[in-house]
């Protein structure tokens, strides 16, 4: 029996990293569901997909690049440029569909330029795409230094339309579990990518080119495959995917800024590697990339559900997982090389071409051991992740019990003060803290249009006209503030991100919502409200 299993595995060795990833995803989710009841909600599972179009679309393009033996660091730059450029064009009143088309073309042109440098001038992909990334990111700031909000109707519809899941929702009242249009787009891209990779001539050429430290590219060339053309196409395809990912990002957050998606290329590469694609190229599946993305999502989700854990555990865990997968890959590569060598020896001894099945029969024992190593490795990673999560929780608890310390990012919400403000008749209490300058600003807006703000060392005042106040409040209500569309998305913020707390008391209703910027999970309407409030409040002179 064991022997049979090991034979099956040894014949399907190339699926091993993929299988490990898929198992890892389900185990990690199961652990999460066991620890946190919140994760048992089907909507939370669907949220994994709702949060991933951005990463997955990009990762699909990157899978092709990596399979072809290259690398593309420009994704984050192209993503940021797409968000800024489309936001700027929409602000100027362009047709949204034209903007989308233009952005996709722009991504492809950028990809083609980098591809040409790599293919025809023999510049290292690393360098050429790095320059591309810098160029794209720099161009963002030529367009705009600030965040450009998007309030285009089409983009809002794309962001907000719910596609209800049959069986888990109530179509009459439009409630229940749902996904977004972007998830459908993501799935279409994903399906097309699988088809291209597995069943098209282009896909086969990509596989043929990658791997073996560039020697395979030489062989592909000698076989008469169109290597140059394919290389160009791979980078054009990735440019397209990056632009599409940028569009999904700017649809989700309803704004564009040059600082979006910092360091995103590394997340994408890590997701592709965790998905079982060899970084040297030539081996891997687009299908695996989906699970690479989902595993990253689950890790993030576990850390968010934990709540007390610093969000900096995400890169550490992702880094460790990447390491584990790279080790699995290099072991596999070594195994393959050994098998190949032993076959060669056998052929030489017998003087006959040896049978692959025979080789499989003779090799099961070392492979069973290998399996043990992989299984053990995966187990160690899972247990390690689990320990890290639970231990980190304890540490975090321990920390919070020590004396209050100078804390830049997550100063506790001045909740008491905010409550007093609301009780004293204010319609809106708005606090913003953290950010690169460690600010802590609390504003109160009163029904007579008075705005008072203090940041601990200074206080500012401003008087709004009744029309301005009416406009502000009607915008907040129109953004569905008091419905379930606006919900808390607080998690430990990144170092230079702001934390927002907004309490609105209007028309007899009151609601407080917190969010952290830099996250893509906060509802788009929330950011509209934030930018609306930021537009009217007075500024402090001292940081």
């Amino acid at each position: 029996m064991m022997r049979k299993i090991s034979t099956i595995i040894s014949n399907n060795r190339r699926f091993l990293p993929l299988t490990v990833t898929i198992l890892l995803f389900f185990v990690a989710y199961a652990v999460g569901a066991w620890m946190y009841t919140g994760m048992r909600d089907p909507q939370v599972f669907l949220n994994l997909f709702r949060n991933s179009p951005f990463l997955l679309i990009s990762a699909v393009g990157m899978t092709f690049v990596i399979l072809s033996g290259g690398i593309d660091l420009s994704v984050s730059g192209v993503v940021a440029l797409t968000t800024v450029a489309s936001a700027a064009l929409l602000r100027d009143g362009w047709n949204p569909w034209l903007v989308i088309l233009l952005m996709l073309v722009m991504g492809m042109v950028l990809g083609a330029t980098m591809g040409a440098f790599i293919t025809y001038l023999n510049i290292q992909p690393f360098i050429a795409t790095l320059a591309g990334m810098w160029f794209a990111r720099g161009m963002c700031f030529f367009i705009s230094d600030d965040v450009i909000p998007i309030d285009n109707h089409t983009f809002l519809i794309l962001a907000r339309t719910k596609i209800l899941i049959p069986g888990l929702s109530d179509p009459v009242s439009q409630t229940g579990d749902y996904i977004s249009i972007l998830v459908i787009v993501m799935m279409l891209v994903f399906a097309a990518a699988i088809y291209i990779a597995q069943f098209s001539r282009f896909g086969r050429t990509v596989y043929a080119m990658g791997g073996n430290n560039g020697a395979n590219e030489q062989s592909a060339r000698l076989m008469g495959l169109p290597v140059n053309r394919t290389k160009m196409l791979v980078y054009i395809l990735n440019g397209f995917c990056s632009a599409l990912a940028g569009l999904t990002l700017c649809i989700t957050v309803s704004s564009g800024h040059g600082l979006y998606a910092q360091g995103f290329e590394m997340t994408v590469i890590a997701a592709v590697v965790i998905g079982g694609t060899m970084l040297t190229g030539g081996e891997g599946y687009v299908f695996g990339t989906l699970f690479g993305v989902l595993v990253t999502g689950v890790i993030q989700m576990l850390i968010q559900f934990n709540g007390k854990l610093s969000s900096w555990w995400t890169p550490i865990v992702v880094g460790l997982l990447t390491l584990a997968f790279i080790i699995v890959q290099s072991l596999l590569a070594a195994q393959n090389a050994r098998l190949l060598a032993s076959k060669k020896v056998k052929r030489a001894e017998v003087g006959l071409p040896s049978d692959a099945g025979e080789a499989g029969k003779k090799k099961p024992m070392p492979f069973a051991r290998q399996l043990l190593v992989f299984g053990g490795g995966a187990l160690v990673v899972i247990v390690g992740t689990f320990l890290v999560v639970t231990n980190g929780q304890r540490n975090a608890n321990g920390l919070s019990s020590t004396t209050p310390i100078q804390n830049c990012q997550s100063q506790p919400f001045r909740q008491d003060q905010a409550v007093t403000i609301i009780q004293s008749g204010a319609v809106l209490a708005y606090e913003r803290n953290g950010g690169p300058n460690c600010i802590d600003e609390l504003y109160a807006i009163y029904p007579d249009g008075r705005i008072e703000g203090d940041n601990g060392s200074e206080s500012v005042k401003k008087q709004l006209t009744p029309e301005e106040l009416d406009h502000l409040l009607s915008v907040i209500v129109a953004r569905q503030w008091f419905t379930n569309e606006i919900y808390d998305t607080y998690h430990t913020p990144c170092g230079s991100c702001y934390v927002y707390y907004i309490s609105v008391s209007y028309d007899g209703k009151q609601k407080t919502v917190k969010a952290v910027d830099g996250g893509t999970d906060a509802p788009a309407n929330y950011w509209q409200v934030v930018s609306e409030i930021n537009g009217v409040i007075p500024k402090f002179t001292s940081p």
């Binding site: 720099g138 161009m139 700031f141 040059g258 970084l279 880094g319 080790i327």
Partner: protein, 359 residues
């Protein structure tokens, strides 16, 4: 030498590793000379020198330090993506050693008062520097072990520390931005002794690297490992140890750069320190003519000039008035230009021109 024809001399100059970096640097400085009045003015204040040129040297010191270490790694045929993260780790370690109260360590009340005093440090300065450098060498060791003994592709192996390193730095400082008040520490990055003190550090590290690679056989070993590690192995060089050494040295350089960077802004910010510096360092080395991914022949001085090319671009953009965040786009164009200078097509073109002139 006098008997050589001018053609050969010309070819020799063009083929020298220093030629293209110098051309690039000279071009940038020439543009500055034409378009920015007073760019070359150097002032003396209290016996110290100030000016745009000095600024280029001072602000370029991190990248110069990183480039020295990176040159050796790239010469072995590898690359180290983690230097930026190692800088952040080094800065974090130094910061919490100087002021551990920030992460919740309780000190006696009479010491507690002194925390914001510029003369206060929890651990003596030599200890801070020593521990920081040891930690950064351990980071280098980790990379080296993965690459040399784990046989993992260098880009992949160092990617792990690059992703995880910043997280580790955040954990060390409990994701706080730590201000450093201790004055002697600030001198490392901010002090001036006629020239900025950080330049003397660069010179010192350069001298050590130069002695190590040019006065011992290690430099030759590194080149031979880069050109063909298998052949080096058969000729009796322990190629794994050579690689390990290169990565440890690179970690050390990153640690020093982290110290200089954090003392310059007197803050340890695990999120920002060294962000994207790995890219600057790699480009500096590539501009210096050491082949990324292939390894082999290297020139430390050319890498230093490469670092200056990067910094001169940035400084002159600031001087012209390009917004800080947009400078990166111009930098990309410079990089593309310099890389084009290296492409075979352009090089053979330049050689043809110089050859014709000589003939």
């Amino acid at each position: 030498m006098k008997t050589l024809k001018s053609t050969q001399t010309g070819r020799k100059i063009v083929e020298s590793k220093l030629f293209f970096p110098f051309v690039a640097l000279a071009l940038i400085l020439l543009l500055d000379f034409i378009f920015i009045p007073g760019f070359f003015k150097i002032e003396t204040r209290a016996g110290n020198l100030y000016g745009s040129l000095i600024d280029i040297l001072r602000n370029g010191s991190y990248v110069m330090l990183l480039a020295i270490g990176m040159t050796l790694v790239i010469a072995t045929g590898g690359v180290d993506l983690s230097v930026g993260a190692v800088m952040a780790i080094a800065a974090s370690v130094a910061a919490i050693m100087i002021n551990p109260t920030i992460i919740g360590v309780k000190l006696p009340p009479d010491v507690m008062k002194l925390v914001f005093d510029p003369n206060f440090t929890y651990s003596p300065l030599w200890e801070v520097i020593l521990v920081t450098l040891v930690v950064s060498m351990v980071c280098g060791l980790w990379n080296g072990i993965l690459v040399a003994y784990g046989n993992i592709q260098p880009m992949v192996a160092t990617l792990i520390l690059m992703i995880a390193g910043r997280g580790i730095a955040q954990l060390i400082t409990h994701s706080l931005r730590i201000q450093i008040f201790y004055a002697p520490y600030a001198f490392i990055g901010k002090g001036w002794v006629i020239l900025p003190f950080s330049l003397y550090i660069v010179a010192f590290v350069y001298a050590i690297a130069w002695l190590l690679t040019r006065k011992t056989s290690i430099g030759l070993f590194i080149e031979s490992v880069g050109i063909n590690f298998r052949a080096s192995f058969y000729s009796g060089i322990d190629e794994k140890k050579v690689k390990l050494l290169a990565y440890i040295f690179c970690g050390l350089c990153a640690g020093i750069a982290g110290l200089v960077a954090s003392s310059n802004i007197q803050t340890s910010d695990a999120n920002q320190i060294g962000l994207n510096y790995e890219l600057d360092a790699i480009l500096a080395v590539v501009i210096g003519g050491t082949a990324l991914g292939l390894g082999g022949r290297f020139s430390l001085l050319a890498s230093i000039i490469g670092a200056l090319v990067m910094q001169a671009t940035t400084t002159s953009m600031y001087a012209i008035g390009v917004p800080a965040s947009a400078v990166i786009a111009v930098k990309a164009l410079v990089v593309i230009f310099v890389i084009l200078l290296y492409s075979k097509q352009v090089q053979s073109f330049v050689r043809k021109i110089i050859g014709q002139k000589g003939a």
